[in-house]
């Protein structure tokens, strides 16, 4: 049951094959058993069970709220949840209990979804591995998959047992691990530079970044206000569309959401792609790209071409400037957004009492990790009067050029861009931490962050397993506010590749009881 699609489970709930409470308990049990993944910071067991109870009542009365009624979901711990600790994986907000729900959380709850818990992340969403949070790193469930264990390259120097697990990607690694390990059917992530798409690629999931302005950011603790969006992680495109249909739309509390009305939609099944034009940006073919990803990218292009689509090479000439531009703008906004954390109204407050300044300084030193503090320092540097013109304003101009690159390409007849999501498959944690956060972010964001600067919709689709048995994802980028079209193409691709299901069975003996009496679930893409 836990491996089914959202739609399938919803039908099962409606038909009484399983009750919301049973479903909830199964997920809670699995969360417990997969605790070692460290995907969750807070498991909201009581809340979820209560919600399940209410959902059950509704189903009994034949008054379910919709497809999401009774469906377990998880939410990244940088979304405010009323009455439930929201930490952003930082000491600064340990124990902080918001008095309100983020709009997207409220929308899910209004549809009857069950909130299983708050998932782990890089501190304040800064990072690409979910390794730099105050609650420890997230482990990629695929580290324990049958596929990886069987196909991985033998270790040259045998490391201690249990230390060679893989990163889940970041910064929404917890959400990705939660969905990937079947503990919930959908999870909210956030995406500022690729933070939803990156872990989706590493965990074999659909990681969707909506157009900026489509989904409300109210209640999402901001990293970069002008680039953040709530992201959606699921195991299939249909599920993403269901969640997006609930979340999208104008929010009066968020002045950056567009006011045009949004209707929930089902993603049509595309049978004919001959009218489609796929663009392959040549600047994305970088030397650091692993040969496996490059070959998969090429295969995907061929797949579209042989199905009749037009596949052409395009140019996004300012690509090489995007990382630097992103870092200037990101750190500047971070410096500004983090200014509110002073220990006065909420969050961590140090014991220093000598003066306000001393209290602020100690609180912020104790509350933030090095990554956050580093970005604050950089950001403040760029915002200094003498630097503002040369750095911030300049970066804004470059940002405009980068956004225009996309506009030009899309205006020339290209419908969708196809690119890699990450440079390679997930790497072992010990390998990943050899470089610092800033270096890793700069490397890993390379395919994803220009999209945030341009505010476009994008989705990472699981494409195939690597020779080591690990997921590799490919990214599709669409026109602004053409999210439905993007998902339509993604769904066609999903059907073509038939990405395999994560096989955890047999390696976690305790878990077998969760899957017992069921045939191994396969992700069905029929309607």
């Amino acid at each position: 049951m836990l491996g089914r699609t959202l739609r399938e489970v919803s039908v099962a709930l409606k038909q009484g094959q399983i009750t919301p409470t049973e479903l909830c308990r199964k997920c809670l049990s699995l969360i417990q058993k997969t605790k070692f993944l460290n995907a969750y910071i807070t498991v909201s067991e009581e809340v979820a069970l209560k919600q399940a109870e209410e959902s059950e009542k509704r189903y009994k009365q034949g008054q379910s709220l919709g497809i999401l009624d009774g469906i377990p979901v998880a939410v990244k711990d940088n979304f405010s949840t009323s009455g439930i600790q929201t930490t952003c994986a930082s000491n600064m907000l340990k124990g902080y209990i918001p008095p309100f729900n983020a709009t997207v959380v409220q929308k899910l709850l209004d549809q009857g979804a069950l909130l299983m818990g708050k998932t782990n992340l890089d501190e304040f969403a800064m990072g690409s591995g979910s390794t730099d949070g105050a609650f420890g790193p997230v482990k990629n469930p695929w580290s324990y998959s049958k596929q990886y264990q069987e196909q991985r390259r033998p270790q040259s120097n045998r490391k201690r047992e249990g230390t060679d697990w893989l990163i889940a990607g970041g910064s929404s690694g917890g959400s990705a691990a939660a969905v990937s390990a079947f503990t919930c059917f959908a999870a909210l992530g956030s995406d500022t530079g690729g933070s939803t798409r990156n872990p989706a690629a590493h965990c074999g999931l659909v990681g969707f970044k909506p157009s900026y302005g489509l989904v409300s950011r109210h209640g999402l603790i901001p990293l970069v206000n002008s680039m953040d969006v709530p992201g959606i992680l699921t195991r299939c495109v249909d599920d993403t569309a269901i969640v997006l249909g609930v979340l999208a739309g104008h929010d009066p509390k968020d002045s950056t959401t567009v006011q045009d009305p949004v209707k929930p939609f089902t993603v049509p099944s595309l049978s004919d792609v001959s009218k489609l034009c796929i663009g392959i940006p040549k600047e994305y073919l970088v030397p650091e790209l692993s040969s496996e990803v490059r070959s998969l990218w090429s295969k995907a292009a061929d797949l579209f071409e042989s199905a009749g689509a037009k596949v052409i090479e395009v140019s996004l000439p300012h690509t090489s400037y995007s990382i630097v531009c992103y870092h200037v703008l990101c750190t500047a906004e971070v410096a500004s957004n983090m200014a509110r954390f002073d220990g006065l109204e909420y969050g961590h407050r140090c014991d220093v009492n000598m003066s306000t300044e001393a209290m602020y300084a100690a609180t912020r030193r104790e509350g933030f990790n090095d990554v956050v503090r580093g970005r604050i320092l950089s950001g403040n540097f760029f915002l200094l009067k003498e630097n503002y013109e040369n750095y911030f304003i300049k970066a804004q101009k470059v940002r405009r050029l980068i956004a225009n690159d996309f506009v030009n390409v899309f205006n020339s007849g290209v419908d969708i861009l196809l690119t890699p999501t990450t440079l390679s498959e997930a790497v072992p944690f010990l390998e990943f931490i050899k470089e610092d956060n800033r270096t890793r972010s700069a490397q890993d964001d390379i395919f994803t962050q220009a999209v945030n600067m341009a505010g476009l919709p994008a989705v990472s689709m699981p494409a195939a397993l690597s020779t080591q048995g690990l997921p590799i994802g490919l990214q599709f980028i669409g026109h602004a506010f053409c999210d439905q079209k993007l998902l339509t193409v993604a769904k066609w691709f999903e059907k073509q590749v038939q990405f395999p299901v994560l096989q955890l069975q047999g390696l976690m003996d305790d878990c077998s009881s969760v899957f017992e009496n069921e045939t191994l679930p396969s992700v069905s893409v029929k309607q």
């Binding site: 603790i221 983090m338 509110r340 109204e345 915002l383």
Partner: protein, 450 residues
């Protein structure tokens, strides 16, 4: 016409030329080589009445004072500038604080329409150009009454600019003649008010009340066209009357709804401007005038005895009757201005530019607001002079005293006596009586019925 050079000095504020005898911008700090070159520059816009320079003092050498005012007026609105919490004076501490006001992470600003209308009304009343597009910015500094660590203001492109305020000053020995003068308005911008901090020195702690945090303010920046406390007082009084007539601010200084900071410097006419000091903490018009005049004299005394003026912030000690330096904790502040990313540009329309089919609740039409402006004090005074044949000075007095105009008009309705007689009685007999007994019009037992 050469555009005046706008230089950003000190605490992030804009300063321009002062229009006195070819001077060229306030100087900050000790003299340096560049002042001599500025001396030769022509001030090419000078069509305004000459200031009366300060009377010669002991030294016999003429001094001229330059005064620039920055006014913060609390907008009279039901809720705050960017959040829905209520605006109310004297509520229990921290009882009017929304999640946004407390800077809870994840909260976002939502612009209050009434505040924008208030800004447009005020801009129009002050003959400003209303910018059809204006922008919001963050001004960063750390202080315990600023929960977010930044204030949302309009630094790059304010909502209104380049206006003027005409005011009356009593002239002559007997202060019986009125002359009208004009002060230029540089700009009007919308910004957030901060919370209030109360220092409890006994327990070495600071108490923070966030009721005021986020209340909408209109910052009105005047060009440094004024020369003394009396002019400043007259300007502020007129501004108060205008704001009250518009209903955009109650402008009560005692309740903190109108706050004035004065920037003051002195120099010899013909020479470059002097170093300016900023005087804050002025909570009545009377103190404002006193503080400015005192500070002018202090600077003159200091310079005449060979000292120098520091570019500092001073506060007015009303008990001592003088300005004293404030503890300048800030030093040289860099506010690291950055655009406010959560607020799109504010776009206003007029009847010509209004797109077809837009709902009226969604947009602000400047022309509509202009048409609905109430009668301004200057128009009221003109009307009184025309209708009742009184002297301009009398019309000023009638408006300056709270409730007096209403009283006068009520009397005129009831009586058949000649207007001149009534005017005289109201202004001399009644007002004299009230002043003698320290009463406001509303407190007097006199009724308009004769």
């Amino acid at each position: 016409m050469a555009a005046p050079m706008l230089r950003r000095v000190g605490l992030g504020r804009l300063w321009g030329f002062a229009w006195v005898d070819g001077g060229s911008g306030h100087r900050r700090g000790s003299p340096n080589g560049s002042t001599s070159s500025r001396r030769r520059e022509q001030s090419s816009v000078a069509q305004q009445p000459l200031h009366t320079a300060q009377k010669p003092r002991k030294g016999g050498h003429k001094w001229a004072a330059v005064v620039g005012l920055e006014i913060h007026a609390q907008i009279s609105s039901n809720s705050k500038l960017f959040s829905g919490s209520q605006v109310s004076f004297m509520a229990p501490p921290n009882s009017l604080v929304s999640f946004f006001d407390a800077s809870l992470p994840g909260t976002l600003p939502v612009l209050n329409r009434r505040c924008v209308e208030a800004a447009v009304m005020t801009g129009l009343a002050l003959n400003c150009h209303i910018n059809k597009k204006s922008l919001f910015d963050r001004k960063h500094y750390f202080y315990s009454d600023l929960p977010a660590g930044y204030q949302i203001t309009q630094q790059r492109l304010p909502i209104a600019a380049n206006g003027s305020l005409t005011y009356g000053v009593f002239m002559g020995n007997k202060q019986s003649r009125m002359a009208t003068k004009t002060v230029r308005i540089r700009q009007i911008q919308l910004e957030q008010d901060s919370g209030k901090s109360l220092h409890d020195d006994l327990r070495s702690q600071t108490l923070i009340d966030l009721n005021r945090a986020g209340v909408g303010l209109l910052e009105v920046v005047l060009e440094p066209d004024l020369c003394c406390g009396e002019e400043a007082a007259a300007v502020i009084k007129e501004l108060q009357l205008i704001l009250q007539a518009l209903g955009t601010s109650q402008a009560n200084m005692a309740e903190g709804q109108l706050r004035v900071d004065a920037n003051i410097s002195v120099h010899h006419p013909g020479e470059p401007l002097g170093v300016r000091t900023e005087v804050k903490n002025l909570n009545s018009i009377r103190f404002l005038a006193k503080a400015i005049d005192h500070e002018i004299q202090r600077q003159i005394n200091e310079l005449e005895s060979g000292g120098e003026i520091l570019n500092e912030t001073r506060s007015f000690d009303c008990k001592l009757g003088c300005t004293v330096p404030m503890r300048d904790k800030e030093g040289k502040q860099d506010y690291r201005f950055m655009p406010e990313p959560n607020l799109p540009p504010l776009v206003l329309y007029d009847s010509a530019s209004l797109p077809a089919g837009t709902e009226s609740q969604q947009v602000i039409n400047i022309d509509q607001i202009r048409d609905a402006l109430p009668e301004l004090p200057s128009a009221t005074r003109e009307r009184l002079v025309r209708r009742y044949g009184m002297l301009p000075e009398h019309s000023f007095t009638l408006l300056n005293e709270v409730g007096l105009l209403q009283f006068f008009q009520n009397v005129m309705k009831e009586t058949r006596a000649e207007p001149k007689k009534v005017t005289s009685w109201v202004l001399n007999t009644l007002l004299g009586y009230l002043k003698h007994h320290n009463l406001a019009v509303s407190e007097s037992s006199e009724k308009p019925h004769l």
